[in-house]
């Protein structure tokens, strides 16, 4: 929802790009012994809000996610971000393929 948490221990870490990604990586490490060097990423979403001060928050979130992944050494294989409509994605965990449909457009594979 937002790029950066207001403090190191927010009530909802998943609400922020920085603490959210950190939390996912911690779970992967703790539960599955997976480190950043084993990971690659695909990123989706970050559309513009329709109105208000949060209009550009999608772009800011996408920028923050790229920054964090780069810092963690996680390669971004593919991405589809931006626009003005919602995203629907299906991630096949066995193949790593993501089917992505942006509202009003055809489904594409990533």
């Amino acid at each position: 929802m937002l790029p950066s948490a207001p403090n190191k221990k927010p009530g909802k870490p998943a609400k922020y790009a920085d603490t959210g990604i950190k939390e996912v990586l911690q779970v992967m490490m703790k539960e599955y012994d997976i480190t950043c060097s084993n990971l690659k990423a695909k990123i989706f979403g970050g559309a513009k809000m329709k109105s208000g001060a949060a209009y550009d928050i999608g772009q800011k979130n996408a920028d923050k996610v790229r920054e964090i992944l780069k810092y963690k050494g996680i390669q971004i294989l593919n991405e589809k971000v931006g626009g003005e409509h919602g995203y629907k994605i299906e991630f096949d965990i066995s193949t790593g393929i993501v089917n992505c449909r942006v509202f009003g457009q055809k489904e594409e594979q990533y």
Partner: protein, 194 residues
């Protein structure tokens, strides 16, 4: 901050009035079901929506402002928006075949009428001034529209007041939904109206 019983009652009455106004607008009876009025965790609020997150809908969103602040959202499936358009224009059902400027305008006006009713209701019951803003209409996945809707309230807080009401237009068996997010701080002085 928990929702005061008085505010809860006023909100319920305003929703009842909204269903009467919707019936009058469409010249078709609309039943109302107030699904919830409570402080909810934003994760719970979005989880509920994500179950139908890829449903294609038309939404009308605006702000109620003045002595209190509140966000308003009306949503209807894209397919049913066509029927709404025909009802409003008193056309034979099936006349409007494609979404476009006319159906967008129909949903805009329904949102305008419902939000006007809600703001009038708050105005009378709380003796305050509340005005709706110019509505914005968009067609998108329900999940995207709802995320947009709750964003402002969720930016600073992890829980929001959420009012969720479902209308059923009986004649054509169409369901549509209305949501309100009262801005808690602006409602604070209404907690003890006397």
């Amino acid at each position: 901050m928990e929702i005061n019983r008085f505010i809860e009652m006023v909100v319920k009455q305003s929703i009842d009035r909204a269903s009467q106004v919707l019936s009058k607008t469409l010249r078709a009876g609309a039943k109302i079901e107030l699904e919830s009025i409570s402080a909810v965790d934003i994760s719970q609020a979005t989880e509920r929506m994500m179950a139908e997150g890829d449903k294609e809908v038309m939404g009308c969103m605006l702000d109620l402002g003045g002595d209190i602040r509140c966000k308003f959202l009306f949503v209807i499936s894209s397919k049913d928006a066509l029927i709404f358009t025909d009802l409003m224009l008193r056309n034979k059902l099936g006349t409007t075949e494609k979404l476009g400027q006319v159906s967008e305008s129909a949903i805009q006006e329904v949102g305008n009428i419902l939000s006007g009713c809600i703001s009038n209701s708050f105005s009378k019951d709380f003796d305050i001034s509340v005005m709706p803003s110019v509505p914005i209409v968009f067609t998108d996945f329900l999940g995207g529209i709802f995320s947009n809707f709750i964003f402002e309230g969720s930016e600073q807080e992890d829980s929001i007041w959420l009012v969720q009401a479902k209308f059923l237009v009986v004649k054509v068996q169409i369901e549509c939904e209305m949501f309100l997010i009262p801005h808690t701080q602006s409602f604070f002085h209404l907690q003890n109206p006397i």
